[in-house]
Symmetry: C2
Subunit: 457 residues, 2 copies
């Protein structure tokens, strides 16, 4: 058997040429997304004013198994992909485990995460459609950064509505976006009607993601030649992110290896869905078996304590509704530092798969996540993003279980990004000032009370 | 001819197994370093209390051409090396140049720069010698971060004296170091005699690199089992950094290519020396020819306007003296944001090579450097460190010259690191608030006036 290197890099020529649409192999398809006004399944025509045509097609298509990746996107991918599949030899040794641990590392690009995989696709289709630009919202700024880079590459205008408190308190990501030519507006702003309304009602508000989404959607639909784009949750985003899993699978096959357990952090689901889709396809087709584990923060436990129901994807209730595991669009997650996982809902694809017992989910607490992050940083040399560290925590737990049982399992987890812009959270941890928070059942009931009543009969 | 991919990765098995000591091939050797007390060539025994034994040997050896890289260091290198040699196809296209542009990218590791290559070597030798730990100083924090990572790997104590104003104004790098287990002390501090003395004389001072060096050296020499380590300038550091040039050369040879021009930014010289050494060796031995260009900031022009003379390596005058291009150890560079290039002197190896007309040097102004950085970020997708961007600026200039003359030159430059922790500087640039500064001749004369009188006869 070939000796497995620390980092497995595919050749450029081995980059995936198609994205994989896992819905095509699902017996129980995700429920259709609904028009927020009519609460009926939304149509192509109804979605066109908001999203690019080609992306609407991808969003609504649950039967085509593969979509060709346009050459222009492949060329962009070549600047930072294939990303390495890393064998965590040092971590295995430190844990003294018989398990083999691998991680697919998506942090080695300037956006610092996997978000760039979908940003470049969405920018490409906007460019192809002859649009002038796109609008979006961003909280901590990872998605906004990725989109700025993608738009700079294609010469598209990029308008980012950034939650005001992040705009002021996290100026570094804001400046990365500006360096890539994006215009970044603190939200709520006086550039949109909804923004002005909110500012009048709540002068001095520091904003919210829900408000920023509403402003971005208004900006897209009221400017000629603009569309709105989103970085997670949607099925089109999961589709683009399958480049992660396809590469990982190809890298394993090169060495005649196969993971037994696949672990990913889950916020909206884009990284987890992208990582597991090709493997899940094999499981759905009865070809191979895998255990999948979604890891979410205990402070925002959509899978483990949420309800499987139709809900709004945004707090502003302007986006389509999806059937998903949700805490209710009115649920306000606590100030958990893993910003990318503070989302009330979950991809409808992953929700259906979880509902059908095709994957597992666990919720973990923040301080244990940072303990795992620090250990990983010191042993494997990479400072992980707090989001990614949720997966690290559970991968370590599983490897320790293997030590106890003597099983030589092969574990794969997704290392979605780096933590360079999360040092305020690390500082809290270093100072012993970090705490955990788990919502009570009563907290959750408040969120559930706001779930919409949907009747599709 | 094989199609050249965007990124050339060597196999793990092709990692260099020896560092190359360019001094062995130099006809005119660098002048010996001097004991700061006696101003006579310093001996092995005199250096032992400050540096590890093995590193002293490397420092003083100007005849052995190759040093074996210990297996433990190679194993660490495997976590982030071989680093890619990148073909800048997008930049070539954007510049519409017949030149081929390559860069050796050293930024894809958590320290964010090439500094880790020497940090791990210095930590290894300290561990081998049975030491408890090492001390060092850091300004912006790149070197301190790299050393913290290396010490965490070998379980060594790491004490970093960080210039107080950086400690307070740049808390993020400080927190990365703490996450890796280093103790970071704002300098001047009350933990050393020299620190207390300075605090008494200048209460409220925000510190300086010179003061931090003095504290770190005192801490190393007064604690049992500690030594002092340094991240640039020294010949041992250039030796370790030759892993950069050796990998680049091997990658070119894989594709039967050869650079015509090799460009690097120059502060203390560790990156530039490491990149060019193996190519310079061929030039010195008359085997091949290359043009080498050192790029320095116009605000701190050691090569282009300095004197070739013996000088102190630190403003505190506790370290050995070296014969080098220098602006005088009392020269205070302006607040240039390329922190890593704000050094009054230059590696004695590079100084001798420059003195012997074996390489060229140019000085460039800050705003033009940030213009190049922004262009590069948008076109090639990587947000470069301000230091590295000096090399980008000149690489672009050379590529444009090729367009004018029609020459198909092959250009290689060193992309030493990423700019994620330099967003304050980018913000100034984005806001149009950045300015240039070029010292007057009178400014320089003040620095030269402090040069020591050395008589080696």
């Amino acid at each position: 058997m070939k000796k497995i290197p620390y980092k497995i890099y595919l050749e450029e020529s081995e980059l995936p040429k198609q994205w994989y649409n896992v819905r095509a192999d699902m017996k129980n398809k995700p429920a259709p997304i609904l028009n927020p006004q009519t609460l009926k399944p939304i149509t192509f025509e109804e979605l066109r004013p908001v999203f690019c045509d080609e992306l609407v097609k991808q969003e609504l298509d649950d039967t085509t198994p593969y979509f060709d990746i346009p050459q222009e996107i492949i060329d962009f991918y070549k600047m930072y992909r294939p990303s390495p599949l890393v064998r965590a030899y040092c971590l295995e040794k430190a844990l003294d485990t018989p398990a083999k641990i691998y991680y697919k590392f998506e942090g080695n690009n300037t956006s610092g995460s996997h978000k760039l995989n979908s940003a470049i696709a969405q920018a490409y289709y906007a460019k192809q459609q002859g649009l002038k630009g796109v609008t979006t919202e961003t909280g901590a700024g990872q998605w906004g950064t990725a989109l700025s880079m993608a738009c700079a590459y294609f010469g598209l205008d990029c308008q980012v509505y950034m939650v005001k408190c992040s705009y002021e308190q996290k100026p570094f990501r804001r400046e990365v976006m500006r360096t890539y030519g994006a215009s970044v507006t603190p939200s709520p702003s006086d550039t949109t009607e909804v923004g002005r309304k909110i500012l009048k009602e709540f002068p001095g508000t520091s904003g919210s993601l829900g408000c920023a989404i509403s402003e971005a959607v208004e900006a897209a639909t009221t400017q000629e030649g603009y569309r709105y784009v989103l970085g997670s949750v949607l099925s089109q985003v999961l589709l683009h992110q399958t480049v992660i899993g396809l590469e990982a699978k190809a890298a394993f096959e090169k060495y005649d290896e196969k993971p037994d357990i696949i672990i990913g952090c889950a916020g909206g689901g884009s990284n987890l869905g992208g990582l597991i889709s090709p493997f899940m396809g094999e499981k759905l087709r009865g070809e191979k078996d895998y255990q999948f584990i979604a890891v979410e923060p205990a402070s925002c436990p959509s899978f483990t304590r949420g309800k499987f129901a139709y809900d709004y994807c945004d707090t502003g209730m302007v986006c389509p509704l999806a059937k998903m595991y949700t805490l209710g669009s009115g649920f306000i997650p606590s100030a958990n530092h893993a910003g990318g996982l503070r989302y009330h809902g979950m991809s409808s694809i992953l929700s259906q798969l979880y509902h059908d017992n095709l994957m597992d989910a666990v919720a973990v607490e923040q301080t244990s996540v940072f303990e795992a992050a620090e250990k990983f940083a010191r042993i494997e040399g990479i400072l992980p993003a707090p989001e990614s560290s949720h997966a690290i925590k559970v991968a370590i737990d599983e490897a320790i279980k293997c030590k106890e049982t003597g099983e030589e399992k092969t574990i794969l987890f997704g290392l979605t990004g780096t933590g360079y812009f999360d040092m305020v959270a690390y500082e809290k941890f270093n100072n012993g000032e970090m705490s955990d928070y788990v919502p009570t059942d009563a907290d959750l009931e408040k969120g559930f009370a706001g779930l919409p009543k949907v009747d599709l009969s």
